[in-house]
Amino acid sequence: MAAHRCSRSALLLVLCSLCLFSIAESQETTPAGDHRATGVDNPQSVTGSTEQMAEQPTVVEEEEEEEEDRRWEATRDEVETENTSAPDTSAPTFEVHSSVPKPKDDFQEELVIRPLHSGDIYASFQFRTLWETDFTTGNKVSHYRLFPKSLGQVISKFSVRELHISFTQGYWRTMQWGQPFLPSPPGAELWVWFQDSVTDVDETWKELTNVLSGIFCASLNFIDSTNTVQPSASFKPLGIGNVTDHRFLRYATLPREIVCTENLTPWKKLLPCGSKAGLAVLLKSEKLFHSSFHSQAVHIRPVCKDWQCKTKSWELRQTLNVVFDLHTPGQGKQEWSLFKMFSRTLTEACPLASSSKIYVDITDDPQGEQFEVSPATHLLSQAMVLGDRRTFSLYDLTQQITFGTVRSLNLHIRWKSSEGDMLRPLLHAERYVAGYGLQTGEIHTLMYNNHPYRGFPVLLMDSVPWYLRLYIHTLTVTSKGKDNKPSYIHYQPSKDRVRPHLLEMLVQLPPNSVTEVTVQFERALLKWTEYTPDPNHGFYVGSSVISSLVPSIVAMDTNSTREQPLFSSFFPCKEESSYFMRVYTEPLLVNLPTPDFSMPYNVICLTCTVVAVGYGSLYNLLTRSFQIEEPSPGLAKRLANIIRRMRGVPPL
């Protein structure tokens, strides 16, 4: 461990010196070269980026900046005047698995800001490190550049194929905020696919959770067999590879996990620039934890390196989602700025990043009536996000011009929020415990399909701790008042103190309906050492997971009067017709029958006394028959009798 820490600090030292060096150099070069700040210390990346840019027309090259500028300006005018969709949609900037050239690793950072329907602000950070290396086949990887060594060692030691871990504080309010880019349940969630070379998966899983617990300063070591399940269908690998035997999958949640600064700091340390430069300077815990929702995650998976998929590289994606509550009563206009949200402004990109961008979602306001973004940008970008075509203003931090004359970027938006109405997301779910008393109860899961005319199937996964004994024969699935028979059910009953219940179902949700899944349970009486220190708080049951392919909003759009080329609008486009979505319900807090823990001593004493004295003598009274006995003779008489017996005379 010590050696590990040493190597890490050495790496950090090197990185820091690199950063300093690059900053110094860029400062030297800026008067001469005006906007040539990227990767000065790394000439390869410059050539790399030019190559890359050649492939992506939307990313503006520095040399052509003047022309490009004009072009985007023009299109923007066009947008304002004619209300047509933004041009050049054929080139999405999201998720380009383009070839990264010579250096085998690559780092990208981006921040998406979306003003939410409810008047809140959603900020989503994504940091992606790609590394073309092979952790698996026994070769020892020892030279780390951008990829964090601690995670690299975890991958190779435990033969991890895919690892997804998220720490979330708060519940994503789908009805007010719409869909998140990356959903996560409250508390901690961990799911891992192991390589099929692993022989003892459970042992490896146990070690892995303990190691991750140390890396992220979280209570992941509380993951044991009682809260681990192997879902058969809900969690498929997200990276390449075709092994889908769920023996190699482990899934666990800790709904009670509290996420705070001590989890954020190790997470930030995994970034190549730490929180020294780039977007990560915004990640100040005093602001991030002063929000309505906070979620941080790490996803590791193998991805294709190029479109032919000849070689694979490892992708480490660190995401952080946060929703700020900007509620100001009585004011119609709301405003925010980077400084107001994060108490920092941006001055530079991470020098190690090949791309560093900020996107501001302006879809809801194509005319610029509701928003006012300053400084204005000339770049627009379009992408399909969660089945919806969104338009973004784009700020490229790798270009000096973004920072303007004050050399710092403080995005500023004023807009009129339409607070109040609830959204009607296509798919959302809620869950609650019904009934009263401490003996039985009923778990209700409601799934809403708000699509006006299309039904779709969803996979519902429930993992319930053993101390709620599910009566699986009471399982009912109803939609629109009729029985809705699931087409697939996978149920693994619990074993007391060993493993939880696992219930997976494939349910078809009819259009415009609510589907209700109910199952009754009995509350177990725990042994007295099994209660938590605060038993009257209740016991947590983790979120259910609903995974589904949802018809996209674009495909739902039946408004054919919109102005678009006629040839494009007859058949609905297959690629866009549905998208994958995962919805988590609320965790449950269930009260179990709890003894009065101040009383056991009294109770033990009292019961023992009652049993010993009361029961004993009452039993005697009832079962024995009493006879009057001659009073026993006195001592003198007894002595006399003994003497008489010895003499052979009959006793007195």
């Binding site: 934890f289 609650y432 708080h537 269930v590 009260n591 004295v613 009493f626 009057i628």
Partner: protein, 615 residues
């Protein structure tokens, strides 16, 4: 126990108990009553103290500033209420939304078994509006509730205004760890019942309600607010809930602590606390407070909207603003600050309130007696029944040739025949069942044949069945078995006395006050009734001490305690309405007092009536 296993000593002991049975019973009865009266004497009671550490040591600041604005909102609410002639649902939804809450509505409808003349309702249709303030970074597992009933007329507008004002203020605070649900319920208890049933998805009373759309997890505590004037002189805390359930004492302690801190006069049972416990008037004041609490608890009905929460193990209380002629007035800002403080402390709770007592009686807000102290009062009454049973047992055992060890042969005792005991038991229970079912089922027929309203029909049918029951059992008994034997009534009385002991014991465990009040009147009856006492006088005493007359006296006594004495005619009308309310409480909220009295207590009393007329 060695005492009992020695036959000689046992005989001596039993001899003593049978010989001194009557005096011991009298002493026990008086000791029981004296013990109960002593409970209110301050040196015998405990001072209240906060047991919950999470609420005790945490200091909170109360900064709610907007009492005036809240009152203005209340006036606006009143105007909209008048305009729509009921709950202004749209206005409430809009107002709550503008305060940044997630707002939902719930519709409900209920047809009462018979028209409620007190509140003038029969077909009830209404809407509950509630807004949820989502706590930042909380996973929707815990919630607190603040409710205000929207009542017809000019009542409670200030409460709704203050609720909305608090919602607005709470929305801007960052420290919430639990969701807070602001609920405005229509048709007071019926709306509350609908909301709670919807929230927990249960249906115990056959009400129609639309399912709830938004929830906040398990509710930890709730307060209901009743405020009908802009300024108040004191705040009254109402604790008694359905079936005599009480919230955890810590909730009362919390209210008292904040009243002390902020300097608001606080009362319980509408009685201010006095410091002169050593004077007669001070003591009688404390006794009155405690008796009021006992009588309210014994009634088994919810005395505020909070009462229905208790079924779901949610600690809840109602806070009532009282505006009397006192000089010192408290404005809405102060009341708001008090509520803010209470909610901040409830917000700090790590576990449900469980540290303090659930079974207690309060002689003032600062003094209480717990179950360990008041149970002996009931125990002393209960022991009378056991002594009488022992006496009868010995009497039954002794006259025939008795066996040596005192164990009585079963055949000899039951020689009067099982039938002679079983018949009155069955008949009196059938009468009880008739008392339980007939009033509601026969109301239509009664209305057709007599010039009375439905409510009167129900109540009068109940009284008629009750009186008819007096004539029934002994007549049939005589018809069936001819003359009753001496043995017969003794066996019957033994059964009846033990039955009563078990019945009262169980009742007292659940609802001490009800058990104690029933014991006060029924135990003397059970103790002295034999066929050999003067018939007319005994019959009169028996009727006077019957459950129905107990209720009548309780009504007058309750009015007396509340310092609102009534004339006999008004008292009679009140008595009739109390009976109808009792039946309604059972049908609407599941109160158990009516079925308990009709199905168990009344038949048990009939057995004693039967014994009186045995020959």
């Amino acid at each position: 126990m060695g005492l009992l296993s020695d036959p000689n000593r046992r005989r001596a002991l039993i001899g003593l108990l049978t010989r001194l049975n009557a005096p011991i019973c009298v002493v026990c009865y008086m000791a029981g009553v004296a013990w109960f009266m002593g409970l209110a004497f301050e040196p015998f009671t405990l001072r209240t103290y906060m047991s919950e550490n999470a609420m005790g040591s945490t200091m909170v600041e109360e900064r709610f500033p907007a009492g005036e604005r809240a009152l203005a909102t209340g006036r606006e609410f009143a105007a909209h209420k008048k305009k729509t002639g009921g709950m202004p649902v749209d206005w409430l939804v809009k107002t709550m939304q503008s305060r940044g809450l997630e707002v939902f509505t719930q519709r409900f409808s209920r047809r009462l078994p018979f028209p409620d003349e007190d509140k003038e309702r029969y077909m009830v249709k209404g809407t509950n509006v509630y807004g949820i303030l989502r706590a930042p970074r909380a996973p929707r597992t815990e919630a607190l509730v603040l409710s205000a009933p929207c009542t017809a007329g000019d009542h409670n507008n200030q409460a709704v205004g203050l609720l909305l004002g608090l919602a607005q203020y709470f929305r801007n605070q960052v420290y919430w760890a639990k969701d807070i649900i602001f609920l405005v319920n229509e048709h007071d208890l019926i709306g509350m019942q609908a909301w709670l049933e919807g929230y927990h998805h249960t249906n115990t009373t056959g009400m129609d309600w639309s399912p709830l759309q938004g929830r906040g997890g398990s509710i930890q505590a709730a307060l209901s607010l009743e405020l009908s004037s802009d300024v108040v002189t004191s705040l009254d805390l109402v604790l008694e809930g359905l079936n005599g359930q009480l919230p955890n004492l810590d909730l009362a302690n919390l209210f008292y602590a904040f009243c002390q801190k902020i300097g608001v006069l606080c009362t319980t049972q509408g009685k201010l606390q006095r410091n002169d416990w050593d004077s007669v008037s001070g003591y009688s004041h404390a006794v009155q407070t405690m008796m009021l609490m006992a009588m309210k608890q014994a009634s088994g009905r919810p005395w505020g909207d909070h009462g229905l929460f208790l079924r779901y193990h949610i600690e809840a209380a109602t806070i009532k603003g009282i505006n009397s002629f006192r000089q010192y007035k408290t404005d809405a800002t102060t009341v708001g600050r008090l509520l803010e403080g209470m909610y901040r402390k409830l917000n700090n709770l790590l576990e449900r309130l469980h540290q303090s007592y659930f079974f207690y009686l309060m002689s003032s807000l600062s003094h209480f007696v717990s179950i360990g102290y008041y149970m002996p009062a009931f125990g002393l009454l209960g022991v009378i029944l056991l002594l009488r049973a022992l006496d009868l047992w010995v009497q039954l055992a002794s006259p025939p040739p008795r066996t040596e060890d005192g164990v009585v042969d079963a055949e000899q005792v039951s020689s009067p025949g099982v039938l002679s005991v079983l018949t009155p038991l069955v008949i009196s229970h059938l009468t009880g069942a008739a008392l339980y079912t007939l009033p509601i089922h026969f109301q239509e027929m009664a209305v057709e044949h007599f010039p009375v309203s439905e409510t009167e029909a129900v109540v009068l049918t109940a009284i008629a069945v009750y009186t008819a029951g007096l004539a029934l059992p002994h007549n049939t008994n005589r018809l069936l078995t001819g003359q009753g034997t001496e043995q017969g009534w003794k066996v019957l009385k033994l059964v009846a006395v033990l039955y009563l002991a078990v019945l009262l014991g169980c009742t007292a465990l659940i609802n001490f006050s009800l058990g104690f009040i029933l014991a006060l009147t029924l135990v003397p009856v059970a103790a002295f009734v034999t066929p050999n006492v003067p018939k007319v006088l005994s019959a009169f005493v028996l009727v006077v001490l019957s459950p129905a007359c107990t209720l009548l006296f309780s009504v007058f006594f309750f009015q007396e305690l509340q310092e609102m004495p009534v004339s006999f005619l008004d008292g009679w009308m009140l008595y009739l309405s109390v009976i109808s309310q009792g039946i309604l409480d059972h049908a609407l909220y599941g109160s158990l007092v009516y079925p308990l009295v009709a199905l168990l207590v009344y038949p048990c009393w009939l057995l004693f009536w039967n014994i009186l007329f045995w020959k």
